[in-house]
Amino acid sequence: MRAEAKLGFILLLTPLLLWLTLLIFIPHVDMFLVSLRERVGVGKHDTSLANYRTFLTEPLYLWTFLRTAVMSVVATAITLIIAFPVSYYIAKIAKGRLQSALFLLCLIPFYVSELVRTFGWMILLRETGLVSNLLLWAGLADQPVEMLYNDAAIMVGLVYTSMLFMVVPLVTTLESLDDSVIEAGYDLGGTGFSVLREIVIPHAAPGIVSGCIVVFMLSLGNYLTPTMLGGKDSLWFTELIYSQFIVRFNWELGAAFGFMLLFLSSLIVWGMLKITGQTLEKTMG
């Protein structure tokens, strides 16, 4: 019986292990080796750290990464601020049918692909688009307004794209909070704000942390939304990686960029966890 259970365990684990080694681990090792090559002539390569040096010495690349990271952090914060009241309403105030209906409403935009959703925003925001025409019609503007191709448009797209990934963990953790605890807080003389600060947020912390990590990583690694909504000034780090690989045929530099993205984003997440006094274990808990 024991041996059988062990065999079952191994067989269950096999697909996961195969997935991890074949599709994640081996390609990363290969990519790392590519990133260490330096082109010295036609079809000739040397091993060196030249590509990483290029990333660190060319201000343009560092600047792009910084911009991407800061925008992603801001997008995460905005998503959290919008998603928290929404999740609280869904988890605590709405009941029965309404609760599932609201949750479903958050889910529905994800029935269509990201590309279609982004095009939707383009139709709304462009100079000859819906919002611009509405403003003209209402007399609030005297000429067409261009709302596309700027950082605000990127932000709108990023927040919209990642909303669900914040709402789901928040709803799950908030639902597990016993209503009587909140009532007790009020009974002991707490105000709405102090109950939120002392009871609700500490209880929801694991949900907030995991939601923030997912949204931050999704924003940082997003390619479509910044490129399409940002226009001529978009400049997103993933866009740099794409152009190194596809347009410039410079896989070596692209691979180095990929590793810097992996390393620096992990560093940012780790730093944020340290600052807020959270740990990954507690979040998983």
Binding site: G8, T14, E146, K232, F245, R248, F249, N250
Partner: protein
């Protein structure tokens, strides 16, 4: 006990699904090409005549080379990059195999175009490409609103400010260099001179950036911008201008004063292609004048097929003649082969333009 059996079955099943190998048959022609180069009706005729089946993947120059490089030249049996992008990638990555011109019906090709393409795609004495579709890139203008634009550099004029669109890719760099009175093609072999030249173009493009509405990425994006009137002047392919001309007579393709840039898309055999016979059959089939005219109809560009012009539609011919008076045809600058390594110089320039404010 029961659950452990279920587990076992599930794991075994997932393994079996993963292990399912793909199998291919020899007479499937996997064609890597541009949109419009393999229209449905031509594929149907080819399949009916030869019994081969055709699988089409649509792409562009950079993606074609990137895809072939990723597999070492496998996954496709016939590809269609531009003639200037064959010798460089072949020397650098070895992704093509020599083409056996004797297996082709050479009388179907326009002789001057065939010999020029063969010469440009020769590496170590072996020929790698034959011509298929050719065209130019230049200016697509809304002539009612962008009358002042005669050359690429006029896109920086004040009267079209905020209404300009072009691609942030190498044709833009080359076009601006010509319009600024330089000859980038002559500097292809000299990296230092080319870097200096691109530096000047970079300055110009950065100072011009305020004029740009958006850098377009795909043809449909440009069509949207021009059709809605959000952009009135752009750099684009001749076909794009002619297609828009059919909808709005004000918009058309204009050959710039410094010369339109001429390109030829070719046929090449990827190094690990498995259906060479089908590939040769396809080339011989689509170069027949009547079939070539059908491709011209779909793609909007003329082909290197001899005598196909007769079958082209009168509309298209009229648009072509309006955009290209004889002296503009003579002034077309044909792309010479891009030496390996130039992309890195251009890439730096393009990145810096994109990042500039």
């Amino acid at each position: 006990m029961k659950t452990s059996t279920t587990r076992f079955t599930l794991s075994a099943l997932s393994l079996a699904i993963m292990g399912l190998a793909q199998s291919g048959s020899a007479d499937t022609l996997r064609l890597l090409t541009w949109g419009g180069y393999a229209p449905e009706n031509v594929i149907d005729m080819f399949e009916a005549e030869t019994g081969h089946t055709v699988e089409v993947t649509k792409s562009n120059n950079e993606e074609m080379i990137a895809k072939l490089r990723a597999t070492g030249g496998g996954g496709f049996d016939l590809a269609q990059p531009s003639q200037d992008r064959i010798a460089g990638p072949q020397m650098e990555f070895g992704i093509y195999k020599p083409i056996d011109v004797s297996k082709l019906d050479q009388s179907l090709f326009i002789p001057s175009m065939l010999s020029a393409t063969m010469a440009n795609t020769t590496v170590d004495g072996a020929v790698y490409g034959v011509p298929h579709v050719w065209g130019t890139s230049g200016l697509v203008l809304n002539t009612a609103m962008a009358g002042s634009v005669k050359d690429y550099t006029d896109l920086c004029n004040d009267d079209v400010a905020g209404k300009v669109s072009y691609r942030l890719k190498r044709p833009t760099l080359i076009g601006f260099a010509f319009a600024m009175g330089m000859d980038p093609f002559a500097a292809y072999g000299d990296e230092a001179a080319y870097t200096e030249m691109m530096g000047k173009v970079e300055e110009k493009l950065i100072s011009c950036k305020a004029n740009v509405k958006a850098y377009w990425g795909g043809g449909d994006e440009l069509m949207g911008l021009m059709r809605s009137g959000e952009a009135v002047a752009s750099m684009a392919w001749d076909t794009g201008g002619w297609k828009l001309n059919a909808d709005n007579p004000d918009i058309t393709f204009v050959a710039p004063a410094s010369g339109a840039l001429g390109w030829i898309d070719t046929f090449v055999l990827p190094a690990k292609g498995k259906a060479d016979d089908a590939a040769y059959a396809w080339i011989n089939f689509v170069m027949q004048p009547k079939i070539a005219a059908m491709i011209t109809e779909a793609a909007g560009n003329f082909t290197a097929s001899k005598g196909a012009d007769e079958f082209a539609s009168a509309d298209l011919k009229a648009r072509y003649q309006a955009s290209f008076p004889p002296e503009a045809v003579d002034n077309i600058k044909w792309y010479p082969p891009v030496p390996a390594g130039l992309e890195a110089i251009e890439g730096g320039v393009l990145d810096r333009v994109k990042a500039a404010n």
